[in-house]
Symmetry: C2
Subunit: 231 residues, 2 copies
DNA sequence: AGATATTTGTTCGTATGTATT
DNA sequence: TAATACATACGAACAAATATC
């Protein structure tokens, strides 16, 4: 029973499925398409092709769940209300569990954010790298639910329209504060200092929330000025 | 632009889509199937039928995300690590925001769990009602991310195999404690007592975690005894 | 490297079922 | 009840991709 749904195991080819279910090609293909969209199977052409059971990837889960949130109005305050409580728990959970590869990946993202605060496309790369730091932690987290929840909010911050506008302009304080906190967190992880990791992350999130909300408010005011000027 | 993706707006019929994209019926239908599985459109037959844009429902999002977690090994400890931090925040966020309908729904679930602790199918209904209490809170939560995160872990607790085994046997302490906490929470919500709501929920989750982990450990021991006896 | 066989991908024409009017 | 409009399903054929020899 378990072997039947083991990743990598292959489904019968279309012709066999047609015979098995007494359905036409089109119907079988629609069913396979459904499974494919859900990320449950992958389909290849050619000899030894066909549908094979796959593990649903994080990327696919993220895409599908994003569709749900598309119709919900999400604010920066909503996101940070969640991050403020999840991220300290995440930091706690990875203490003593970071491999050398994880530490190198963390260092790499810190390095990208080391220089001067930048705007435009370069600044955006800095912001993404900051979020990648947190993605690495989620990657090392042994709790699958906590890990997904954290990565998903990171994804929201990478894609949200409001954030794009903020990321477009240089964020001096945000960049400096973020870099300092990530450095301190890295040290805490190296020294297996669980209380410090938790505390630093809590402060980091509180500061990030403050600065992001402040930037968003500035943009809002600029927008209102433009609207008033147009009237 | 916005009106084009407004829920309820209808897509061109299949024949029109065939002309628009220069594709055959089968190809168009596979594309529509993809959108349908993602919960983005609903398709009806008959006159005034065809594909219409829909809002992705919570139920669909839950199903699709469940596929992702199917391949991840989730423990009760994982779930409660998340619930312990999310639910107090949820309780806080709904203070002063519960409608009469919400309060009635909460009362209803509390009523189901009022009697003697039961096992089997009846006991399972009690456990589900306990989780429905938390679902109502999520329903009233103004933060879409927090709301979904809480409801999803509730869904995990409703479906997890380990939980089914626990729910099958009468859980005296779990039932009594849960009923008491839900009653106290209800009072805190009525009195708009934010600190009390947060504190009660924190204690409630800590107790629930303790009792659930203890029950799971008992089942584990019983299982081991059976295995040893069989050898 | 190239020919070949295998399997999915796409198309067309047609027939059937179903909901609205 | 009958007519209409639309999705749903079928089957045969051809095109494209890909592994194997």
């Amino acid at each position: 029973m378990d072997e039947e749904i083991a990743p990598g195991s292959r489904l019968p080819q279309e012709r066999a499925l047609m015979a098995r279910f007494g359905a036409s090609r089109g119907t079988i293909r629609e069913a396979l398409k459904s499974l494919e969209v859900q990320g449950l199977v992958g389909v290849r052409t050619g000899p030894r092709g066909g549908a094979a059971v796959t593990v649903v990837s994080y990327a696919r889960a993220m895409e599908l769940l994003s569709n749900y949130f598309y119709s919900q109005h999400i604010t920066l305050a909503d996101i940070y209300a969640v991050r403020k409580i999840l991220e300290p728990q995440l930091a706690d959970s990875v203490v003593g569990r970071l491999s050398d590869a994880h530490l190198i990946a963390l260092e790499y993202t810190v390095g990208i954010c080391a220089g001067e605060p930048l705007g435009g496309a370069e600044g955006r790369r800095q912001r993404i790298a900051e979020l990648d730091f947190h993605d690495v932690l989620a990657d090392a987290c042994p709790n699958p639910v906590l890990s997904f929840y954290c990565r998903f909010v990171n994804g929201l911050l990478k894609n949200l329209a409001v954030c794009d506008e903020i990321y477009d302009r240089p964020q001096a304080e945000l960049t400096r504060e973020g870099h300092a906190y990530h450095n301190d967190l890295l040290r805490a992880f190296r020294e297996h200092d669980r209380p410090a990791a938790r505390r630093l992350m809590r402060e980091h999130m509180a500061e990030a929330e403050r600065l992001m909300l402040s930037s968003a408010a500035k943009l809002e005011r600029r927008f209102l000025v433009l609207v008033n000027a147009a009237e």
